[in-house]
């Protein structure tokens, strides 16, 4: 009975040399072509500079296998992600299945007479593959409909895609035809047939043919299927099919560094003739490899705040243009291909990189070009940006205020200045906007008031504080950034500061990550997290009055640092009822001021900040809460631009907390607050 639940492998085509010979020859040829094709591509990657991305190979391998097998990245966007996932699993199972058959037929059975494709195992094997194939066909059909009939905006369809759809369909369909033809001859009356339901249906539909015809059909289709499959393998390097390897490998080579941290240039290098990326060859091999990993899924483009407001920047296009230049061996300046307007439009919000299922790193490539424009040409997106840089060189802030008045906002609250007394619990790094901008000094004052209530001794650097250098760095001015950073680090070290808290996510991100490359090694906390800790430690008593609000996750707290919950808890405690915007958390839409663009004028397309404000207004909430001085500035502006002044009020989370503060009189008696986690 057991022996019935099996089938003859190589039935009808023969198991001898006449079959195996050409089969293996074709396979070897296909693999050789595959190897050759990739070798050609590797030579192109090698044009780029070196980059070390093989540390922790064990972890990297695990990540790669998990992402590829579980399809975690691609299914983040459910439609059509799950279509791809199901298709992949279907096709992958079929591949495993075919491999198992080859192992038995050409190895264990051939040499050792061992057959395992029988009995219950075979039944399960058979039905799994049948269903896998069916799911694969259906999903492929769905993807086909999406691409060719629904035609989503921005999705580029090329000949490559037609070839891929065609080839995959052919392989799947011929697979079923082979099965159907075989079953029509061997299994039409067998109880085994039900374990291959799809094949069974096909077999039934072919039952009108006579055995001779069926065998011919079977044999022909078998060889055709083999040819298609080998063609598939050989075509890998030359078509978008390469993403099976390149996209998976890109996970292996992914950036494990602190999120969003740029490479620190060695500006002392006397040998360096050039800074930033001028020609394609200034990029690294990984930058070029990224282009090969791209499948033009356009998820980056869909989420880019610049692209969706009619600026000429498309992250996807940058990657593809880079790839084109690499494969054409172009030596001219990359900025002419990318265009300056596109390069300057980026806000470094990381929506592209965050969603990319192929682990492509878009942002660094753009900043690299900015670096060459600024450092090698002294070029900026506008005179207003050059002025801001010069103001920062003279007075340590891009707003044009005299450095000596940097701590004046704190005078009315008598905040301790480190130069007078450095015995404090935390150093509050206010940042340029909180120090000088009329709207944002309110946030600084709110934060200090909250700390006071919690019994925390706050110190500020005042006039000794300089811009953290972040907008300058993101604009490409690595030299000015490093100059400012070194000065700030020297000051912080001089005062033996242990803990820094900031109300600006850009300062936070820069001091916590970027400054480490330059030697700063202290604890840096964002105010959202810090206030949350104070609350959890019962040092802040907030008497929440019901406030209808929506909350904007800033890019530099959100996507750059995964801080999503602490601010929400704070708002909840303050009595806020958050009506979330559609695009929230990691899908939040940038306010437009990142990437140094707080210094620049927005001249092209429609206003990004107005677009975001309208998203907030659509929630019906009365307050738009944020955690960043740039966001707050952009929203105050955007609310006017959208003419929503009375309907939507922008505020910082520190402000909403201080407004609902119930004064505690015993905070000081609570003793010191342990700042390190």
């Amino acid at each position: 009975m057991e022996m019935e639940f099996t089938r003859e492998i190589y039935w009808n085509v023969g198991h001898g040399f006449l079959t195996l010979g050409p089969m293996y020859l074709l396979a070897l040829t296909a693999i050789a072509i595959l190897a050759y094709g990739f070798l050609l591509r590797i030579n192109v990657y090698k044009q780029g500079q070196s980059l070390a991305r093989t540390d922790n190979p064990g972890q990297r391998t695990v990540n790669t296998i998990k992402t590829a097998l579980l399809q975690t990245s691609v299914t983040r966007v459910t439609i059509p992600g799950i279509f791809h996932g199901l298709f992949f699993w279907g096709f992958f199972l079929l591949f495993i299945g075919t491999t198992i058959i080859v192992i038995q037929a050409d190895f264990t059975d051939l040499f050792f007479g061992v057959k395992f494709l029988r009995g219950t195992f075979y039944k399960l094997f058979s039905i799994t593959l049948d269903l896998a194939g069916l799911v694969a066909v259906i999903m492929l059909g769905a993807l086909f409909v999406r691409r060719y009939i629904l035609r989503p905006e921005g999705l580029e369809t090329k000949r490559d895609d037609a070839l891929m759809h065609g080839l995959l369909f052919a392989i799947l369909l011929t697979g079923f035809i082979i099965e159907g033809a075989r079953m029509a001859v061997t299994e039409i009356d067998s109880p085994l047939a039900v374990w291959s339901p799809v094949g069974f249906v096909l077999a039934k539909s072919m039952s009108s043919l006579d055995e001779g015809g069926l065998r011919s059909l079977h044999r022909f289709t078998w060889w055709f299927h083999l040819l298609m499959a080998m063609g598939f393998i050989a075509s890998l390097p030359f078509t978008k099919f390469r993403h099976i390897l390149t996209t998976s490998l890109n996970k292996f080579f992914a950036d494990h560094g602190p999120t969003g941290k740029l490479a620190t240039l060695d500006l002392e290098d006397e040998e360096a003739e050039s800074f930033g990326v001028v020609t394609l060859q200034d990029y690294t091999w990984k930058d070029i490899f990224d282009a090969d990993a791209c499948t033009l899924c356009k998820r980056c483009q869909d989420r880019c705040p610049a692209f969706t407001t009619e600026k000429p920047l498309s992250p996807m296009k940058i990657i593809n243009q880079l790839g084109d230049m690499a494969f054409q061996g172009k030596m001219d300046a990359v900025v002419d291909t990318f265009t300056r307007d596109a390069i300057w439009a980026c806000t470094t919000c990381r929506a592209c990189q965050d969603i990319c299922p192929a682990s492509i790193e878009h942002v660094g490539k753009i900043i690299d070009v900015r670096r060459s424009l600024v450092l090698m040409e002294g070029e900026f997106p506008g005179e207003e940006v050059m002025s801001a840089m010069e103001d920062t060189e003279v007075n340590g802030n891009p707003l044009g205020f005299g450095y000596a008045s940097r701590g004046e906002w704190a005078e009315e609250l008598n905040v301790t200045v480190m130069a007078d007394n450095s015995d404090v619990d935390i150093l509050y790094f206010a940042g340029c906007f909180a120090s000088f901008d009329a709207r944002n000094t309110k946030v600084a004052k709110s934060f200090v008031t909250l700390c006071r209530e919690a019994g925390i001794k706050v110190g500020i650097l005042g006039r000794e504080e300089k811009c953290c250098g972040e907008p300058m760095r993101k604009m490409g001015n690595e030299y000015l950034y490093q100059t400012l950073a070194m000065e700030n680090i020297e000051t912080l070290e001089r005062y033996n500061v242990n803990t820094v808290v900031t109300t600006c996510p850009h300062c936070f991100n820069t001091l916590a990550k970027d400054y480490r490359d330059l030697g700063l090694d202290i604890e840096v906390i964002s105010h959202a997290v810090y206030l949350d800790r104070l609350m959890k430690d019962d040092r802040l008593s907030i008497d929440g009055a019901d406030v209808s609000c929506t909350y904007h996750d800033s890019c530099y707290l959100g996507r750059h640092n995964d801080i999503y919950d602490a601010p929400r808890q704070l708002i909840g405690a303050a009595g806020g009822t958050i009506t979330e915007m559609e695009k929230n958390r990691d899908q939040a839409f940038c306010c437009s001021a990142g990437g140094g663009r707080i210094l620049a004028e927005e001249k092209i397309g429609s206003r990004i900040n107005v677009k975001r404000v309208r998203m907030a207004a659509a929630t019906g909430a009365h307050h738009l809460l944020s955690n960043c001085p740039f966001c707050l500035t952009m929203f105050e502006d955007g609310v006017k631009g959208a003419e929503l002044e009375d309907q939507l009020i922008p505020k910082d989370i520190a402000e909403i907390l201080v407004e609902n503060l119930k004064k505690k009189t015993d905070s000081a008696a609570r003793g010191p607050f342990i700042h390190s986690k």
Binding site: L375, M376, E377, M386, N395, G402, Y403, S405, Y479
Partner: protein, 257 residues
Amino acid sequence: MKILVCIKQVPDMESKFKVNGEGNWYDSSDLAWRMNEYDEYGVEQAVQLKEQIGDADLTVLCIGPDRVKETMKKALAMGCDRGAHIADDASYGRDPMEIAGIIVEFAKDKGFDLIFTGMQSQDRASGQVGVLVAEMLALPCVTTIIDFAFVDGEIQVKRELEGGIKAKVKTTIPALITCQLGLNTPRYPTLPNIMKAKKKELLSIPAADLLSVDTRQETAAMYFPEKKGGGRVLEGENTDLADQLIQILKEKTSVLA
């Protein structure tokens, strides 16, 4: 061709000024320093001329204490070949004739074909030094330039006059030009040029070696101007202020009649 550009280091005008202890100048503490804005245009034009000529040597000169060397480095990074720092801790107290005299002592035997200066400095704003240097060296001089071209040994410039009118003037080298705001767009130094500037020659010459002219005037007193008074100051919430202002407009003017 030999070119000289004279620059001055001035305080950033956004600084909070205080009068010094002697009461005869502003206190130099708590000030951020920068290149005199008019001189930035001079440096840029001089560098552009050097780039046009090719075989040209450009010297930047600055008088003042040691801190002015930072500003000179920016000029070097913009493209000047060498710097001549006239070390003088008391430069703030010197009158235009003395300053011009120092420059002339330095420049007189060096055969400069063209000298650029700013039209005036942002702090003292006497606007005399450039013209005085030209007179002392007997060079033709045109001031307040907002357009410059060097064509076949001839200098073709445009002066900016009141009302936005321009006067077209030309002369031959050697000559001296003083620059008005808007003459060009001063470049931002590139990093390789900043690096190179660190190695360029920057000599310090004590001012005493070059003092050739006596002082003709001095500051008797420096002080903050008295508020005129008579002007009302309104402060408060925007809506209240608007109401107040409208009331005043109705009372004091006829615009809302």
